[in-house]
């Protein structure tokens, strides 16, 4: 009887230890993995936040530089060219007909340059977007590029367009500028379609071209495409880039319209 009790006690203690061992190991591993997962997410969040801060600082500096150049064009170079054109008009009366024609041609070149500079100033300046909005700024950009006669642009606005925060509009405009800049520099495209689709919660911007396309998975030396993604992320949205040699490139940017909503 005594021995039976001992054996029963032994079996009981063994079972208890078995349960304890299994539970402890499972608990430790599970808790640690959970903590590790959270730790990784935290690190990733911190990294993203840090990158966003750097990007914002870069963008701020860039905007300040753009604004400075735009002011210089408008206040200094523009004024000087306008004065030169005025002087040419005054000079015209003192010369013969042939010379007058040459002066007229110079005046026309100055007028064209003034117009180009005005467009450039608008596309660089924050004031233009602040006063006229994102759609007008895109139209102005298209007008500027259309002058080359190399491309056919089409702008489609769907849904009820609305003004967004200035920061978002400016960032979106810079993304469109960067995308169009890429098309002009690399795509060898003829037709470019820009589609702005406003919904209740988000704005979808599509930039399509019929150019030579590229391999999206291949790492390029330039930072244009990664800039587009980072800029979109900095205003709570995201960008997707699809490209193939047969169909050209489609850049799609999805931005939440309200501050609290993230797409």
């Amino acid at each position: 009887m005594e021995y039976k009790k001992v054996i029963l006690l032994f079996v009981f203690i063994c079972s208890l230890i078995f349960v304890f061992l299994t539970t402890s190991i499972v608990l430790v591993v599970f808790k640690y993995q959970k903590k590790r997962r959270l730790h990784k997410i935290n690190i990733l969040d911190l990294k993203t936040e840090h990158e966003n801060q750097i990007l914002k600082a870069q963008i701020k500096v860039q905007e300040q530089t753009f604004q400075h150049i735009a002011n210089e064009i408008h206040d200094n170079i523009g004024q000087k060219l306008s004065f030169a054109k005025l002087q040419l008009n005054v000079m015209q009366d003192f010369y013969n007909k042939h010379q007058q024609e040459i002066i007229q041609e110079i005046a026309e070149v100055i007028t064209e340059s003034l117009s180009d500079l005005r467009n450039l100033s608008r596309s660089l300046s924050l004031d233009f977007i602040a006063n006229n909005g994102f759609i007008k700024a895109v139209e102005n950009e298209i007008e500027k590029l259309n002058k080359s006669g190399l491309y056919q642009f089409k702008l489609i606005v769907q849904g009820d367009s609305q003004f967004l925060d200035l920061d978002k509009e400016l960032m979106l405009f810079r993304i469109v500028q960067e995308s169009l800049n890429n098309v002009v520099k690399h795509a060898q495209a003829k037709q470019i379609l820009i589609k702005l689709h406003y919904t209740a919660n988000s704005l979808l911007v599509n930039i399509e071209d019929d150019g030579i396309g590229f391999d999206v998975n291949k790492k390029s030396n330039g930072s244009g495409l990664s800039n587009i993604s980072k800029r979109a992320q900095s205003i709570g949205g995201f960008a997707t880039i699809n490209s193939s040699t047969s169909t050209g490139t489609i850049i799609q940017i999805n931005i939440p319209i309200y501050e609290s909503q993230k797409v």
Binding site: V6, I7, F10, I13, F20, I25, V28, V29, K31, R36
Partner: protein, 221 residues
């Protein structure tokens, strides 16, 4: 049943030798962490005591009390070196106190085990050492959960050895604790079958150690 016990016992000895060779090579040829000297010391002491017991058994020296008393030192080495290895990371004040007090406690318990039953002192001392190691493993797990989680558990030698120690100590502790009573209560075959758990636990521990050393072998090239 005796056959099963002997096979498991021999496998445990082979695993011990293999691990000793592995850790010796790793310490000599690779620039591994200095805490592995404790693992080396552990394996060396275990190998020495096992060899002495084997000599005793081969020569049939049943009343060799000198070697019998080695069992106490073996249990103590088993506890102290594994403990030093597992808790090697910088000791904080509280852990240092815990370590010192548990060591003193173990010495007292060993002494007490001799006092209560001289004949079965080795069983009690091993059981106590295993109990101490379970506590040490729990301290390590607690420390692990409180630290910054930046290690992959599947590839952490210290964690694997701590798990191995925890499992092997856990499953073998009751065997040693009840050895005396079981020996009297059961017939030899049944007793040997239950006692086979002890070498099996040693195999489990050495499997974890081998796996850890294999990880070190592959990562420290």
């Amino acid at each position: 049943m005796e056959m099963i016990f002997k096979i498991l016992y021999n496998i445990a000895n082979v695993a011990l030798i293999l691990n000793f060779v592995l850790v010796s090579i790793l310490i000599k040829k690779r620039n591994i962490d200095s805490k592995y000297k404790y693992l080396f010391a552990y394996l060396f002491s275990m190998l020495t005591f096992s060899s002495l017991l084997e000599i005793k058994r081969t020569l049939g020296l049943n009343n060799w009390n000198f070697i019998e008393s080695f069992c106490l030192i073996q249990s103590f080495s088993h506890f102290i070196f594994l403990c030093l290895f597992i808790l090697n990371e910088e000791f904080k004040k509280m852990e240092k106190t815990l370590f010192v007090s548990s060591t003193v406690f173990m010495i007292l318990l060993f002494a007490f085990s001799i006092y209560i039953d001289h004949k079965f002192q080795q069983y009690y001392s091993i059981s106590l050492a295993n109990f101490g190691l379970i506590i040490i493993s729990i301290i390590y797990f607690r420390k692990l959960l409180r630290s910054n989680p930046d290690i992959d558990l599947k590839k952490s030698p210290t964690f694997l050895i701590a798990i191995g120690t925890f499992i092997s100590s856990g499953i073998s502790m009751p065997i040693y604790l009840f050895a005396r009573h079981l020996k009297m209560a059961l017939d030899l075959n049944t007793f040997l079958l239950i006692a086979s758990i002890a070498p099996f636990a040693t195999i489990v521990l050495h499997s974890f150690i081998t796996y850890s050393l294999a990880i070190l072998w592959n990562t420290k090239k």
